[in-house]
């Protein structure tokens, strides 16, 4: 128990340092290089600045409440573990979307959000849920295609 509190306080302290660092330095970009093609760089990049950390804090606060609450709310469901993983993936893709620094990371977050929200909506297998889930995922796919088109337009306008 003591060890647990030690680890928890260590994590809390490091988060505090992180927040202070970001607040006073104005943020930083974490960039994991993939490949370059015709002068076009593809990389995983994440932006940690005041805005994205604020949104990330909101997301983590609310999702922690959800993670706690679903233990009681979903109790006795047959596919409890599937629901657990789906909510986890939903939160992860939301983090991807919030901290994304370029087009590629945004697309990962956006597509992951659409697909996992589809799986969450159709979690109970019946017709009504299926209809609304299909509307969700198809409208997300429209957004996906227009993301690609806007990526092309950005590329052509040289930004």
């Amino acid at each position: 128990m003591f060890l647990f509190f030690l680890v928890l306080s260590g994590v809390f302290l490091s988060f505090c340092f992180f927040f202070f660092y970001v607040f006073f330095e104005g943020g930083f970009v974490f960039d994991l290089f993939f490949f370059t093609f015709c002068g076009l760089d593809f990389s995983f990049s994440f932006v940690f600045d005041f805005l994205s950390l604020g949104f990330g804090g909101c997301v983590s606060l609310i999702s922690s409440v959800v993670f706690f609450y679903r233990l009681f709310y979903m109790e006795g469901t047959v596919d409890f573990r599937r629901f657990l993983w789906l909510v986890f993936l939903f939160v992860v893709s939301m983090f991807f979307l919030v901290f994304s620094g370029n087009f590629f990371t945004t697309m990962i977050g956006w597509d992951g959000l659409g697909l996992t929200s589809f799986c969450l909506v159709v979690f109970y297998n019946n017709r009504v849920r299926l209809d609304s889930g299909l509307i969700t995922v198809f409208s997300n796919r429209v957004g996906d295609v227009f993301f690609l088109l806007s990526f092309f337009l950005f590329l052509e306008s040289g930004q």
């Binding site: 993939f34 490949f35 370059t36 093609f37 015709c38 593809f42 596919d79 599937r82 590629f104 697309m107 990962i108 597509d111 992951g112 697909l115 589809f118 799986c119 159709v122 297998n125 019946n126 017709r127 299926l130 299909l134 995922v137 198809f138 796919r141 429209v142 996906d144 295609v145 227009f146 690609l148 088109l149 990526f151 092309f152 590329l155 052509e156």
Partner: protein
């Protein structure tokens, strides 16, 4: 010679042999057919383009639009299929149309996009055929109406089915996403108005990917209890299809250096 490759890589109009061949073929036959044989048509185009560009360039507009519009028409046909094997076969026609349009944009982006589309589609469509075979071994049917609601008795296979349907529609960290991006750039550089059709084709690719997942996995099952024994061999095959299509993205730089 040109027409030969167009039949082999089924372009709209000369594709009708493909669903019939898939329906009748055994599983290994249709896996090889989807994974390798269709791509040989594309390989022929790559070779042909390298020595007869001026000739092909004058006709590229026709081939380009045959690939895009034919793929779009096939998407609508695909959504009307009841037999799942011909569903997957028609979906491969759509993807090959997109890849063909990418090759005949005569742009570096479109060229590599077509190449990647062949590779990623070969992986995920052959695995979709293998999954259909896994269902067929148990139920002796490929009909949507028999297989619906599989989530109740095979949750893990439902997961793998979801993964490959989603890979088929091009989800970001996979190779098919990069191929779609590159093809879209190549098309837009060649002819700007064609990117709307390419966008529509990608949207319908997403629609039938989700539809394929929903019809098989979702809904109420016909059977109340099915003794469904999964074999380790099957999951090894799924994993071996998934692994390269995700991992090759990290080594894409070696192609261009």
């Amino acid at each position: 010679m040109f027409l030969v490759f167009m039949v082999k890589l089924p372009v709209f109009g000369v594709h009708l042999w493909l669903p019939k061949a898939h329906v009748e073929a055994p599983v290994s036959g249709s896996m090889v057919l989807a994974g390798v044989l269709l791509k040989l048509g594309g390989y022929g185009f790559f070779r042909l383009c390298s020595f007869s560009v001026p000739f092909l360039f004058s006709y590229s507009g026709y081939i380009f639009s045959a690939g895009l519009l034919g793929g779009l028409v096939r998407c609508f046909f695909c959504l009307r299929q009841v037999d799942l094997k011909s569903f997957v076969a028609y979906s491969s026609v759509c993807h090959m149309g997109l890849a063909l349009a990418g090759i005949f944009s005569f742009c570096f982006f479109g060229w590599w996009g077509g190449w990647f589309m062949f590779f990623s589609h070969g992986l995920c469509s052959s695995c979709l055929f293998y999954m259909l075979y896994v269902f067929y071994e148990r139920f002796f049917s490929r009909s949507m109406f028999v297989l619906k609601g599989s989530l109740f008795y095979v949750p893990l296979l439902g997961f793998w089915w979801f993964v490959f349907c989603v890979l088929n529609m091009g989800v970001p960290p996979s190779l098919s996403f990069f191929s779609e991006v590159f093809i879209l750039i190549g098309l837009g550089r060649t002819n700007f108005s064609s990117i709307w059709f390419a966008g529509l084709l990608m949207f319908f690719a997403g629609v039938y990917g989700i539809y394929l997942y929903v019809t098989v996995i979702h809904g109420g099952s016909l059977f109340s209890y099915v003794p469904f024994l999964s074999l380790v061999r099957e999951y090894i095959v799924f994993f071996c299809h998934l692994y390269p299509s995700l991992l090759i993205v990290f080594y894409l730089g070696t192609f261009f250096s």
